[in-house]
Subunit: 325 residues, 2 copies
C-alpha cells in the first residue's frame, strides 16, 4: 500500500468517505513501522472526536445464528436512522467465509446499505494486536460518524475479555436447551455479559426458549454477581419473525440511560482507557522478554525442567529474570 499524508486519512474519515475509512483501517492494521507512525498521528488527531457511539460487543458460538442476528439487528438500527459499523475480531471467524468477502456475503442485506459499514476480521496477528487494532478501528469509525459500533467475536476464542473491555454493552447469544454449546463457549463469558439473548425463539422453539429464559435468569442470579444498577436480563429473539430484536436495542438504550445517570458510564469508559493502556504495557513487557536472546535460548530447557518437577518454579523464574539484566 502506497502511504499518503495523515491529513488525507483524517479528512477522508471526517468527511465520511467510506473508501478512505477502509484504507485508514488497513493502515492501522498494518504492522509496518512507517504505517504505524502515520496511524499513530491519525488516531491521536481523531481520538478527541471519538467516543460518541454506542459500542456493543456480541458473542456466541458458531451455529448460534450470530451473523443473521447482527444483520437483522443492523437493519433494524438502519430503519431507526442509526449508522452502523460491524467489526469482526477473530481471525478464525474468517474460516466461514474464507475470503475478505466472507463477512460481507454472510450479511447480504446489511453490506449493501449505504449507512452500514462491515469490516471483516484482520488477518492474524497476536490477540493483543487484534484487540488493540479493533479499539483503534472503533475510534476511526466513530470519527466517521457511526452511531453504533458492533464488535463481533466467535465466543470460543480468547478475545472476549478484550472485547468486553472496549464496549459499553456485551451481549451473549445462546440457544435454548443447548447445554452442549457450553463445551465450546469461552470460560467466564457470563461474567462479562450485560445481557443474554436466547436466539432462534420461533415456531416450535418458542416454548423451549421461554423455559431456557427462566432457567438462565435463575442461574445468573445464583452464580453471577449483579451490579447495583444493572441486573443482567435474559431476552429471547428470532431472526425469522424478528421478535425481540427491538427489545434488545431498547435494553441497550436503557442500560446506557441507567448507567449514565449513576455516572457509571463515564467511569466505565475511563477505566477502559486505562485498561487498554495496561494491556498494551503488559503485552510490551512480555514481548521484550520473549525477544531477549538469552531467554529464547534457555526458556525451552528451563520450562521442561519445571514441568518434570526437577526445578522449582520460583528458582526457574529467578534464573530467567536474571538473564534480563
Amino acid at each position: 500500500m502506497k502511504i499518503k499524508k495523515p491529513e488525507y486519512y483524517i479528512n477522508g474519515v471526517l468527511e465520511q468517505n467510506m473508501r478512505v475509512l477502509a484504507k485508514t483501517i488497513t493502515l492501522i492494521e498494518s504492522t509496518l513501522p512507517e504505517h504505524q507512525n502515520t496511524a499513530k498521528i491519525i488516531i491521536d488527531k481523531l481520538l478527541p472526536d471519538s467516543g460518541k457511539a454506542v459500542r456493543i460487543g456480541i458473542t456466541g458460538v458458531p451455529g448460534v445464528g450470530k451473523s443473521t442476528f447482527i444483520e437483522n439487528f443492523g437493519m433494524m438500527l438502519i430503519r431507526e436512522k442509526q449508522n452502523v459499523a460491524v467489526l469482526a475480531v477473530d481471525p478464525s471467524s474468517r474460516k466461514s467465509g474464507g475470503s475478505i468477502m466472507g463477512d460481507k456475503t454472510r450479511m447480504e442485506k446489511l453490506s449493501v446499505e449505504k449507512n452500514a459499514f462491515i469490516r471483516p476480521s484482520p488477518s492474524g496477528g497476536t490477540l493483543g494486536g487484534v484487540a488493540g487494532k479493533t479499539r483503534e478501528t472503533m475510534i476511526i469509525c466513530e470519527s466517521a460518524g457511526f452511531d453504533v459500533i458492533i464488535v463481533e467475536t466467535v465466543g470460543v476464542g480468547q478475545s472476549e475479555t478484550a472485547v468486553a473491555s472496549m464496549v459499553d454493552f456485551f451481549l451473549v447469544l445462546m440457544l435454548a436447551g443447548a447445554g452442549d454449546e457450553l463445551q465450546g463457549l469461552k470460560k467466564g463469558i457470563f461474567e462479562l455479559a450485560d445481557a443474554v439473548a436466547i436466539n432462534k425463539a420461533d415456531g416450535d422453539n418458542i416454548k423451549k426458549a421461554q423455559l431456557a429464559k427462566h432457567e438462565y435468569e435463575s442461574a445468573l442470579s445464583l452464580l453471577i454477581q449483579q451490579s447495583a444498577s444493572w441486573s443482567v436480563p435474559v431476552l429471547t429473539c428470532s431472526a425469522v419473525t424478528l421478535d425481540g430484536i427491538e427489545d434488545i436495542w431498547e435494553t441497550i438504550l436503557e442500560h446506557r440511560k441507567k448507567l449514565t445517570s449513576t455516572g457509571e458510564y463515564t467511569e466505565k469508559r475511563r477505566k477502559q482507557s486505562l485498561e487498554w493502556m495496561w494491556a498494551l504495557l503488559e503485552e510490551g513487557l512480555k514481548s521484550r522478554f520473549f525477544e531477549n536472546t538469552n531467554i529464547k535460548k534457555l526458556l525451552p530447557g528451563i520450562s521442561r525442567e519445571v514441568e518434570k518437577g526437577r526445578k522449582a518454579p520460583n528458582v526457574a523464574a529467578n534464573e530467567l529474570l536474571s538473564l534480563l539484566k
Copy 2:
C-alpha cells in the same frame, strides 16, 4: 530471627519436627535476601520429595462457616489417620483473630491435635508474594509428612485464582438461599470450583439446603463448562450434625481417582508448576517496570491524561515502554 544452616531446617522438616517446620515457614515468608537465599536452598532440596499430599483449596465468604467446617473436616481426617495441615492465605482473614493466635483459637479442637498443623496467614505482602509463599509452604508441609494440605481463602479477595492453581481440588462453600453473599463473592469463583457445598444444612435449614442444592446443580450445568471427566457436584453439609462432611472427603478422593485414571491429575500438577513459573515471571517483569525511576516519575501524569481521554492509550503505552530502554 537468627538464621541457621539450611541442613537444620531440611532435617527438622524431614524429621517432622513441628517447631522447625514453623520456623522454616517463617524463613520462607521473610523478605530478607539472606533468608530468601537459605529458603531457596531448602525448597530446592525438598521439592523432589513433595507432591504426595492431597491439596485442597477451600473458599467461602465470611459467615459461611468456613472455620467450623475446616475444623470438623480436619477432625474427620484425623480420625481417618490423615495428617492435616491448614494454611490460610489472605492477610485479611487475620482481621477476625487480630493476632497470630487468631486462626488457632477459631479452630480449637484441631489446633491441639498432634497430627494437625495450622498456619495462620502471612502478614501482608503482595498477592503474588502471599500466594507464592503458600505454594512453598505447601511443599514444606508435604515434606514434613502431611497427607492433606488445606489452603483456605476468604473468597472475597484476589487470591482465589492463585490458590485454585496450586491445589488439586477447589471447594466453594455457600449457604442456602443467600443470594446476597454473591455480592461479596469473588467474580468467576464458580469457574474454579471442583465442588460446591451448601453449608449449615441442619434443622429447619435442611429443606432450604436441598432446594439450593438443586438450584445450584442446574445453574452450574447451564453456565459453567464441565470437564469431560468431572461434573462439579453440589453437596450439603452441617457442622452441627456433621452430615455430609465425610461425603465431601469421598468426593475429593473420587475426583483424585478419576483424574488419575485419565492422566489429568499428573497433567494438572505439571501445568500448575509451569503456571507458577509464569506467574512469578509476570510479577517480576511488572515489578521491574514499576521500580524504574523514569516510570515512577512519569506514570501518574500519563495515566491521568489517558483517563481524561487526552492521550490515546496506545500512545501512552509506547511512551512508557520507550522509557525502559
